[in-house]
């Protein structure tokens, strides 16, 4: 988890104390927090798995607080702490620009669902950011407990603009123009300007009521210029009182938005050329069976004492081997380059018994770096996904040929991700898939040899085992640092 968490929040602060994350609720949030708990809203959301589970802990006030905690609380007076919450520790966090379409859709739906339930308890989320969500067991979960504020009849929806620019806008772009648009969020951490989104969307989006209202027309009215926006606190809601919503209206609005999310099941899909690659699947049953049995064997060897804390599956494709690995680890992180495949893995997690898998879209040659303010808001994928075992199955030929990475660079990547072990599959030049990839390439691939492969990997690892797979020229390696 990054260091600069929740630095903008004035109601609470997330703090790291002896390796555990806590959320300190400040005095000024007392009324909201009490209502959240006493009205039964928090319980209702927790039972539905929509909000992170948490428990209250004994609070230490003032100068008795550990120094590190005081530092992290920064400007907030240590004497004005109301509650100390220990949330369920997030096993793995991915960011919105790493999500597939179906993951975005789940977050959108969950956000609107939470708001509707909250409105039933006279509350509403004051933020509308996808960064307040993480995934567990394939479900979108809100972890910002202090994001609730009171909602009374006639109040405006304060998070509306943020909703449109950070959630609805990017999601509409993905739906109409392809999943690739999620990546734009990486360079626009505070959302996309609505007039920009409006211009990118196709004409047919004007026929969709939600796009027409909340993006196209809203984009013409809303100003992104914060100098023109003088509203900073709820006192001014007196002026905008007549411009707000009744509860019935705002619930109706949420329902309308939610029905669009439900209707938009799939994104626009461009890439048809990979269909040939996957369809011409040469993988014989014997090859797959043998591969599976060796990997299970190796996993059993590595987990004789205990389950591994984490296994990383690079180039997870359908998630087949992530699912196998999930029985041998506390968690499995599946990174996959292709958006459609990530959607497939996400579906597989939901329908599988093993739900300790986290999937996200990642290009191994363009990984998520440390980002945000002072490069401390969001962590590099190398930090988040580092695991005791890294699997690189049916992967290295893609990295070598499509990404033009040398074996040394590939080995460096696997070394950086791994704490100890690597299982990697060498796919020789004579392999049908490799031949497909090099078909129209100008360069010679004389350096693409097993010798070159082992020489590069031996600079980082020891080769523990090498096994040729049945009915294939592919070779599995078990490596150790």
């Amino acid at each position: 988890m990054p260091n600069l968490i929740s630095y903008r929040d004035t109601a609470a602060r997330v703090v790291l104390e002896e390796g555990i994350y806590y959320r300190y609720i400040f005095d000024e949030y007392k009324a909201e927090y009490d209502h959240l708990t006493k009205s039964g809203l928090l319980q209702a959301l927790t039972e539905k798995g929509l909000i992170i589970a948490q428990q209250e802990e004994e609070i230490v006030q003032g100068l008795d607080l550990p120094k590190q905690t005081q530092q992290q609380l920064q400007n907030q007076s240590p004497n004005k702490l109301y509650k100390k919450l220990k949330p369920h520790q997030i096993p793995f966090q991915s960011y919105p620009f790493e999500w597939s379409y179906s993951q975005w859709r789940k977050v959108m739906y969950a956000y609107l669902q939470i708001n509707q339930i909250a409105l039933g308890h006279s509350m509403i989320l004051k933020d509308a950011t996808p960064y307040n969500f993480y995934f567990e067991e394939g479900k979108a979960v809100l972890f910002d407990t202090s994001s609730f504020s009171f909602f009374k009849e006639g109040d405006p929806w304060m998070a509306y603009r943020q909703f449109c620019s950070e959630m609805h806008g990017p999601f509409a772009l993905m739906h109409y123009n392809g999943q690739r648009w999620a990546r734009l969020s990486q360079s626009h951490l505070r959302g996309l300007p609505l007039n920009f989104v409006s211009k990118q969307l196709p004409l047919k989006s004007w026929l969709n009521m939600n796009c027409l209202l909340h993006i196209h027309l809203h984009g013409k009215y809303a100003t992104n210029d914060s100098e023109n926006s003088s509203i900073r606190n709820s006192n001014t809601t007196n002026q905008t009182k007549q411009k707000g919503f009744s509860k019935e209206k705002i619930v109706s609005l949420m329902k309308m938005l939610q029905s669009t999310v439900v209707d938009w099941k799939k994104p626009y899909v461009f890439e048809k050329h990979w269909i040939d690659y996957y369809q011409k699947d040469i993988a014989s049953d014997k090859y797959l069976e043998h591969k599976e049995s060796i990997i299970k064997d190796w996993l059993s060897q590595l987990t004789k004492q205990n389950k591994l804390p984490s296994i990383l599956d690079l180039g997870a494709n359908t998630g087949k081997f992530s699912l196998i690995a999930s029985e041998y680890a506390e968690k499995v992180i599946a990174l996959e380059y292709d958006d459609i495949c990530v959607d497939g893995i996400d579906k597989a997690i939901v329908s599988s018994k093993q739900k300790n898998i986290f999937c996200l879209r990642m290009d191994l040659a363009e990984t998520t770096p440390n980002m945000g303010v002072l490069e401390k808001e969001f962590s590099s994928i190398y930090t988040r996904a580092k695991s005791s075992l890294v699997m690189g199955l049916a992967l290295i030929h893609h990295l070598f040929i499509s990404n033009q990475l040398s074996f040394f660079k590939i080995a460096s990547i696997l070394d950086r991700f791994s704490d100890k072990n690597v299982i990697v599959e060498f796919i020789p030049i004579t392999d049908e898939k490799v031949q497909f990839l090099i078909k129209n390439k100008q360069r010679s691939y004389q350096d693409y040899t097993e010798e070159g492969f082992t020489k590069a990997f031996e600079q980082f690892f020891q080769i523990k085992e090498r096994i040729q797979l049945d009915e294939s020229e592919r070779i599995l390696y078990l490596l150790e640092k």
Binding site: A110, Q113, K126, P156, L217, N228, S234, S252, M256
Partner: protein, 60 residues
């Protein structure tokens, strides 16, 4: 007083006034439809707390 650290943008608030007007019409028709359904004994099948996965499975 709630300090809102997210700047809502005054343009968006004005736009919400328009939305509110539109929603008056929507809510009006929804009430009529709900009344008619009630009169014909149809149960209210709207369930906002249904999971997305459940909805997708039903539609599949």
């Amino acid at each position: 007083m709630i300090l809102l650290y997210i700047d809502p943008g005054s343009g968006s608030l004005l736009f919400q006034a328009l939305l509110s007007g539109l929603l008056t019409v929507v809510v009006f028709f929804k009430r009529i439809v709900a009344f008619i359904k009630f009169k014909f004994g149809k149960k209210n099948t709207e369930n906002t707390t249904e999971d997305l996965d459940q909805i997708d499975q039903k539609d599949a």
